[in-house]
């Protein structure tokens, strides 16, 4: 069970929570205030969401822990590639339809 022992401390949890609060407030503010044009704004808030994901993975889910080789990390990375393929691929393939509508 030694791999479970080091499950972060109160400090990392609080830090993670603070980060995630900031990363929630920031895009909300950006969107409500319309700080930049639409395309840029879209990219910005998506990037912030990815940052937030990373925070959750490291501060809350302790992705770096566990015994080596870290198969779960490999699975997640491949999963991220597939997620991107599914979403971006579908949008790319189906755009022809938005021209029709």
């Amino acid at each position: 069970m030694h791999s479970h022992e080091n499950h972060g401390s109160a400090k990392t949890y609080i830090l993670g929570f603070l980060f995630s609060l900031i990363l929630t407030a920031l895009p909300l503010w950006l969107v409500i205030q319309h700080v930049m044009n639409k395309a840029l704004l879209t990219v910005a808030i998506l990037l912030i969401a990815v940052l937030q994901l990373i925070i959750q993975f490291f501060f809350f889910m302790h992705i770096g822990e566990g015994e080596k080789p870290r198969y779960h990390v490999m699975a997640l990375i491949l999963g991220a590639v597939m997620v991107f393929t599914i979403v971006a691929g579908s949008i790319w393939i189906m755009t022809f339809n938005s021209q029709v509508h």
Binding site: G16, L46, A49, I91, N97
Partner: protein, 199 residues
């Protein structure tokens, strides 16, 4: 008994602890794919409103911000629960899990209220493609949260009965992982559905 045989068997058993965690991580990856498909459908259909109201008219900033904050807080408290478990404090563990479940319940409650309000305004799942994809994506997340609530309650009953031991520790770790994962998914719903919707 001879030494080698024992150490080999012990070798496999020792690893049994980490089996479940790895399997659960892989399950989470498959769940990621499920949500990826729902996001893909939403991304393709979000403009297909068939002449009806769009997200900008339907989504309320106050409502979804509250939902987001509640879920973020519950992810934090479930983290505190596993911290209490590491310290071996059954009381604090159960306490933080209770807070997590209550936060989860209020999240689901808010979501149901939001859905009901939209439906009463004539924006239901059968109205148009945009709303169908919206309700399936957000609703699937809501179902996951509800399932997690039942699961977490079950784990709490077991902690009450058996205390903190290897079994319950593993269960708390796994349900905690699930809970954080749902928070991650929500971040993308918050961004892609709500923020892009009201933009």
């Amino acid at each position: 008994m001879a030494q080698p045989a024992i150490s080999m068997d012990a070798h496999q058993e020792h690893h049994h602890d980490t089996f479940k965690l790895l399997g659960f991580w892989i399950f989470l990856v498959t769940d990621c794919i499920i949500f990826a498909c729902l996001f893909a459908v939403y991304a393709v259909l979000r403009t297909h409103t068939d002449g009806d109201l769009t997200g900008r008219e339907l989504f309320e900033v106050k409502g979804f911000t509250a939902e987001t904050l509640i879920l973020l807080a519950s992810s934090f408290t479930s983290g505190l629960a596993s911290l209490a478990m590491q310290k071996g404090s059954k009381k604090h563990l159960l306490g933080w899990l209770t807070v997590t479940v209550l936060l989860g319940l209020s999240f689901v409650g808010l979501e149901i209220t939001e859905f009901a309000k939209m439906a009463s305004e004539g924006a239901a799942i059968s109205t148009n493609a945009f709303l169908s994809s919206f309700f399936t994506l957000v609703g699937t997340h809501g179902l996951h949260v509800s399932f997690g609530l039942i699961w977490m309650t079950g784990v709490m009953v077991q902690i009450g009965r058996y205390g903190i031991d290897a079994h319950t520790k593993e269960k708390v770790t796994i349900v905690g992982l699930y809970w954080h994962f749902l928070d991650v998914v929500w971040i993308f719903i918050f961004t892609v559905v709500y923020l892009l919707g009201v933009m």
